[in-house]
């Protein structure tokens, strides 16, 4: 355990009842007592965002699809991270130097519209997404919606894990700090394999 791990644990322990018992039983597996103190708040770019590129129906589909890709559960999800608005912002900006990107997104949304994705129940949406994603698990398999699935998934991963909700809220990233010493490895067991 590093000094910083210990510090975060102590901070966490102080806020729960029976903190001393918590500390006595604490192991390195205990996580997220405090978040990265160096991370500034996210700029408020997407509050009340109106889509610029996608139609209302396309945007509705995109929002539902990305929410199922990265749902909110014990940590924030795509909706918390404004993934759909960010994607709209990026694809809209592609007009100038990468119009081909816009064509791909139109094609992907058109395919999902042929499946009535927007009006399916959540279970049916999930079932369709599992089918679309089959080639990821088995390269022999083909699916006409695979390109749309990959396009949305890759941009969603980019959007989510670069957001504050993804990077700090979900991954608990500890870098980008100002330190006097780099903590390094403090585990004797890592010195042998």
């Amino acid at each position: 355990m590093t000094r910083r791990d210990a510090g975060r644990m102590i901070l966490g322990a102080a806020t729960v009842a029976g903190g001393s018992e918590f500390l006595a039983g604490a192991t390195e597996q205990q996580k997220r007592p405090s978040e990265n103190q160096f991370a500034p708040p996210a700029p408020d770019r997407f509050k009340n965002y109106q889509p610029q590129f996608f139609s209302a129906e396309e945007f509705h589909i995109l929002d539902a699809f990305t929410d199922l890709l990265i749902p909110a559960d014990e940590t924030p999800g795509a909706r918390d991270a404004h993934v759909a608005p960010f994607i709209d912002f990026v694809v809209n900006a592609a007009a100038e130097y990468e119009p081909g990107m816009q064509k791909k997104w139109r094609r992907a949304m058109a395919w999902l519209q042929t499946q009535n994705f927007g009006s399916l129940s959540k279970d049916r949406q999930l079932a369709l997404m599992r089918e679309m994603s089959q080639p990821e698990h088995d390269r022999q398999k083909k699916h006409p919606g695979f390109f749309a699935y990959r396009l949305i998934k890759e941009m969603t991963l980019h959007a989510f894990y670069t957001s504050r909700e993804g990077l700090i809220g979900d991954l608990d990233y500890q870098g980008m700090a100002y330190l006097t010493h780099f903590p390094g490895c403090t585990h004797p067991e890592h010195h042998r394999v």
Partner: protein, 550 residues
């Protein structure tokens, strides 16, 4: 025409050093930089991905088209390809990653600072291929010392003849993944040591220690990493002997009737006006290929090119992604600050250094690097199948265990067929002919990569790593950003452009610093050697002027 003692063209690593050394020796120096001086502290300040409008990627298509190799965080210190074209033959791509800015590529370099050894300087004597350098380790060692003491290199002594030790600051500690890889390397009998970095672990010459923010390649906001602006320029300016001229795009070295350099002509970056200034000595330090381009443009057939080899023997060290995956022992463990310092376990070359190390498949050597742990972006997630909460948990689970082993420099053989010349048609924004680059890999280059790849997999397996992606192909030339050669040094004036002091054989008052002089790439990162050769060249320059030889 304004007159100076010395004109230094370019403000990168060697230009900054030359400016400092020559100004401190009492010369009146004009330092010309093609790019601008930018507001340093304002540009570089710990930008988080979610603070950038496009989260680091820039407007779609913009950086790829106009600032190849740059990110949204650092493109302002990279070059604008629209103003600065270069050309290649069809099917022979070359990545030329450049900067035109006060400080040049020292603003975003990887900071790796390694000494070359006689295994490299005298490689031709050992294996019969190519030419030896006209300099030995013993001759350059005092200059390595001097440079290291000034720039500050954090490192651990390794006691290896192929990777000489120097004057070091304390090394940066290894993170967990690197510690495991170090143990794995030991088990399979290969050397491994913290990467040697021109990055301070204690204050030096008024520069503060590193604060481990991990933003080095976007520029260091306190100057803890060596760069011209924070390191060599302040003492240079303090002498009162330096005239700093940014936004001055040098187009020609001027020569007089006795075929001696008499100054340079430059174009004012914004007005396009052509200006000439004079000097007793001209020092080119505008990067390996820009120096050569300038010499090719200064005189028909190339300036100082009686040997005919100017432009030839272009090299870039062999690069490649190697192996990525994860270390199961770290899976599901606590999230730690793993990327606050430069990636770093360094595995110095251990092949073709005699006896059982000699390969039957290829000549020369390579160095590997290994690192891992939590990174600012979990790139491995793209390769993971599935979605939903399970997917999220898996990404989190692997986060602390991500690991990779990559090629941090393999020797590319020096070959005459790899060369640069001037494009007959394409010109840059200031009317200077663009460089035309011809560079391909040879069989030995590919075999050397295969050799690296086998060892990378072996190391990964010794660390009990699980491979997610293995890249068996080498990257296109230029990718390492260690382009060297085209103005090589040698003791035979018929086969080289420069002598061992980086002084042209043909024109005694013309010096060329940087990677152009390299006879081989070796397997080390090149900057420290460029700096040591520049320091040695400056000593020779000063001494020659004082005894009237120039």
């Amino acid at each position: 025409m304004k007159q100076f003692d010395v004109i230094v063209v370019g403000s990168g690593a060697t230009g900054g050093w030359a400016c400092m050394a020559l100004a401190e020796a009492g010369f009146k120096v004009a330092l010309l930089e093609a790019g601008s001086r930018i507001d340093w502290r304002k540009e570089f300040h710990h930008d988080w991905p979610y603070e950038a409008p496009f989260r680091g990627s820039g407007k779609p298509g913009y950086l790829r088209k106009f600032f190849p190799g740059a990110s949204e965080y650092n493109y302002k210190i990279m070059i604008d390809a629209r103003e600065n074209p270069y050309t290649t033959a069809p099917g022979e791509p070359f990545r030329w990653i450049r900067s035109r800015i006060l400080g040049g590529r020292t603003l975003h370099w990887a900071r790796a600072s390694d000494r070359m050894s006689d295994f490299e300087f005298k490689a031709a004597t050992r294996d019969g291929y190519g030419e030896d350098w006209p300099i030995s380790y013993r001759e350059i060692a005092p200059y390595y010392d001097r440079v290291e003491r000034f720039i500050g290199v954090s490192a651990a002594p390794a006691g290896l003849p192929q990777f000489p030790d120097g004057s070091f600051l304390p090394p940066m500690p290894l993170n967990c993944a690197e510690t495991i890889f170090q143990a794995a390397a030991k088990q399979i009998g290969i050397p491994a040591t913290p990467r040697r970095l021109a990055q301070l672990t204690r204050p030096l010459h008024g520069r503060p220690s590193c604060h481990y923010c991990g933003n080095c390649v976007d520029g260091c906001d306190v100057g803890a990493m060596f760069n011209t602006v924070d390191s060599t320029l302040p003492p240079a300016l303090k002498t009162g002997n330096v005239t700093l001229m940014c936004d001055s795009v040098v187009s020609h070295v001027l020569v007089n009737d006795e075929h001696r350099a008499r100054g340079v002509r430059y174009v004012e970056r914004y007005t396009g006006r052509s200006v000439e200034i004079g000097a007793k000595v001209v020092v080119l330090a505008g990067s390996s290929l820009e120096n050569t381009r300038l010499m090719l443009n200064s005189e028909h057939g190339g300036l100082a090119n009686s040997s005919g080899v100017l432009g030839q023997y272009l090299m870039d060290q062999i690069a490649g992604a190697g192996v990525t995956g994860y270390l199961p022992v770290l899976k599901g463990g606590p999230v730690r600050d793993d990327d606050g310092k430069a990636d770093g376990l360094y595995i110095p070359n251990f092949v073709n250094i005699g006896g059982r190390t000699n390969s039957k498949n290829f000549i020369r050597g390579f160095a590997m690097s290994a690192s891992g742990g939590c990174q600012r972006f979990p790139g491995y997630a793209r390769a993971m199948p599935g979605f939903g909460s399970d997917f999220k948990r898996q990404v989190r689970n692997l986060y602390p265990s991500y690991a990779r082993v990559w090629l941090s420099g393999g020797e590319m053989l020096a070959r005459k067929e790899n060369f640069v010349d001037l494009d007959p048609v394409v010109r840059d924004k200031w009317g200077v002919p663009a460089l035309r680059i011809h560079c391909t890999h040879c069989d030995n280059d590919r075999k050397l990569y295969e050799g690296f790849f086998e060892h990378a997999k072996e190391l990964f397996h010794a660390a009990h790593g699980e491979v997610l992606h293995a890249e068996p192909h080498l990257a296109i030339p230029g990718s390492m950003i260690h382009e060297v050669g085209t103005c090589r040094m040698g003791s035979d004036a018929k086969k080289s452009v420069l002598n061992s002091y980086c002084q042209t054989h043909d024109i005694s008052n013309l010096f060329v610093f940087g990677g152009g002089c390299f006879v081989t790439t070796g397997d080390k990162h090149p900057t420290l050697t460029m700096l040591a050769l520049a320091a040695r060249g400056c000593d020779h320059l000063v001494e020659s002027v004082r005894r009237g030889a120039i």
